[in-house]
């Protein structure tokens, strides 16, 4: 097995970690991340911070307007705004 298949750069590890936050990292990518994580302190720090951010966002249960809701709000507001200008 080629070394490059198993050993990845710090940047690639961070990219996989980002994808993992959204459940989009493949099994193989997670294995590669795990190997890098076992010895690279920079990757460890990044993963910890990234996981913490995900945890905080989930805890806060933040919400926002989707595109349709936002467009509707914008249209209503702009009609009213035009009357004031």
């Amino acid at each position: 097995m080629k070394k490059s298949l198993l050993f990845i750069s710090c940047e690639e590890a961070q990219h996989i970690c980002d994808k993992r936050q959204y459940g989009e990292a493949t099994g193989w990518e997670r294995v590669k991340l795990g190997i890098r994580l076992s010895w690279c302190r920079i990757t460890q720090a990044y993963v910890n911070r990234n996981n913490k951010l995900t945890e905080v966002i989930q805890k806060a249960d933040v919400d926002c307007l989707n595109n349709d809701e936002r467009s509707k709000l914008k249209q209503q507001f702009e009609e009213e705004l035009a009357k004031h200008q």
Binding site: Q14, H15, D18, K19, Q21, Y22, E24, R49, N50, K52, L53, V56, I57, K59, A60, D61, V62, D63, C64, L65, N66, N67, E69, R70, K72, L73, K74, Q76, F77, E80, L81, H84
Partner: protein, 184 residues
Amino acid sequence: MADHKIDPNNWINLYSDYLFNYTISRVSDREMAQDLVSETFLAGLKSMANFKGEASERTWLISILKRKIIDYYRKINSNKGKAEVRMSYNSDTEAEGDWLEERVADPFDKTAEDKIENSELGDAIYDCMGKLPEKQAEVFKMKTILGYDTETICNELEITASNLWVIIHRARTALADCMEKNWF
């Protein structure tokens, strides 16, 4: 001292998500939250002349929204309102001396505390998101909060998947930095 200026042209872009998140965490009804945000913007437009510039536009709009939310609860006389009354007028004399422990253990209190902490956390996240460049904030919001899949975002914003992940990486790094200073 009037340090802040008012410009309603940017209200939707700058504050609609923040106000919506603030509202939905307090009224738990998506349609009602949208109506309250819309009413807040319209009320803001009508009372622009009253804006003294002592607080930021966002703070001023939030103060209008808070009144709208209170009015909403007054109108519906909701269960939430009744629970608050129940807590305020708890006067069980037989349990005299135990009142402190009882109240600490009260599940309504726990829920309220959690909710307050979570809504403050939500406000902190929105504060940090407000500091991101517009594109980063938009992609982050679509991916993380709205939960759109990568392909949908790429099609909608006409970007490649690698572009999306670079943007997400930058947004997450900036947000983690900001949250570390303000919350972690």
